[in-house]
């Protein structure tokens, strides 16, 4: 079995899990973007497009004393109204869902897009709207109107996902 991430099922995070496939060798070099030093505890893999992280932030974190990551979602698509952004095969959009200072927050560290609300579903709905708008706004913007860094960002987005009208 090739060592690759399957869309919508198992995330790269699973390499830290006791449930990681046994046939991935210890010396396999994962792409740098797949690494993080945050996830040192076993994860619970849910066979959908989600991965649950049933733990709190480390106690040593002084930045957000009242916060806790509820779970991390690995999305393979984001739908809002009549648009669906499909994350390219082998990749996923990692969204951290947390409860902080009385609010639920959904946040993509990769793109800096966020959504918030009074409950989980409101935060995720807000995130979906923001992400789809953000994606379409950048991708649809003519290149002549984009600054150099936004243009580079656009290329990253295009290689990450595609949009389709429903």
């Amino acid at each position: 079995m090739p060592a690759q991430v399957h869309r919508g099922t198992v995330s790269h995070r699973a390499i830290f899990s006791s449930t990681a496939p046994a046939n991935i060798g210890e010396n396999y070099r994962w792409k740098e973007e797949f690494w993080t030093d945050m996830y040192t505890q076993p994860l619970i893999v849910v066979h959908s497009s989600w991965i649950n992280i049933d733990r709190q932030l480390p106690e040593t974190s002084t930045d957000q004393p009242q916060c806790g990551i509820i779970r991390e979602l690995n999305l393979s698509e984001v739908v809002f109204e009549n648009k669906r952004v499909n994350i390219n095969s082998g990749l996923s959009l990692v969204v951290q869902l947390s409860f902080e200072e009385g609010h639920y927050i959904a946040f993509s560290e990769k793109f800096g897009v966020y959504g918030f609300g009074d409950d989980e579903s409101e935060a995720l709905a807000d995130f979906r709207e923001s992400f789809v708008d953000f994606y379409c706004d950048i991708v649809e913007m003519p290149e002549s109107e984009l600054g150099q860094s936004t243009l580079k960002y656009k290329k990253t987005l295009v290689s990450f996902a595609t949009v389709e009208l429903l």
Binding site: Q64, E100, G102, Y114, D118, D137, G147
Partner: protein, 101 residues
């Protein structure tokens, strides 16, 4: 870091060229986009909730705006939202990052 009043954020962003855009109306939230040189920069925005529980924005909320606003530190976000950072200073940061022309 402290909470920032929603009204302060609203006034501050409007002074920095952020405007509501027609066709982007939401009952629960106001979304302000950067408008500069007769162009909308819709990937640079601030979202403000109208809900009662959002009369002040705690750090956990406003710190999420850092990347979208193309700022580098939480201190800059705070200065941006509370107003000490001027319109010119903000545009200067965006120009240096090639975000606006």
């Amino acid at each position: 870091m402290t909470d920032i009043k929603r009204d302060v954020i609203r006034k501050s962003i409007q002074k920095k060229g952020f405007r509501l855009k027609q066709g982007r109306k939401d009952k629960k939230k106001e979304k302000y986009f950067l408008y500069f040189n007769n162009k909308w920069y819709t990937h640079i925005y601030v979202k403000i909730s109208r809900g009662n529980s959002y009369k002040t924005y705690s750090q956990s909320l406003w710190k999420r705006m850092k990347d979208i606003l193309q700022l580098d530190t939480l201190d800059e976000v705070k200065q941006f939202l509370e107003c000490p950072m001027s319109y010119e200073q903000y545009l200067d940061k965006l120009r240096r990052k090639n975000q606006v022309r």
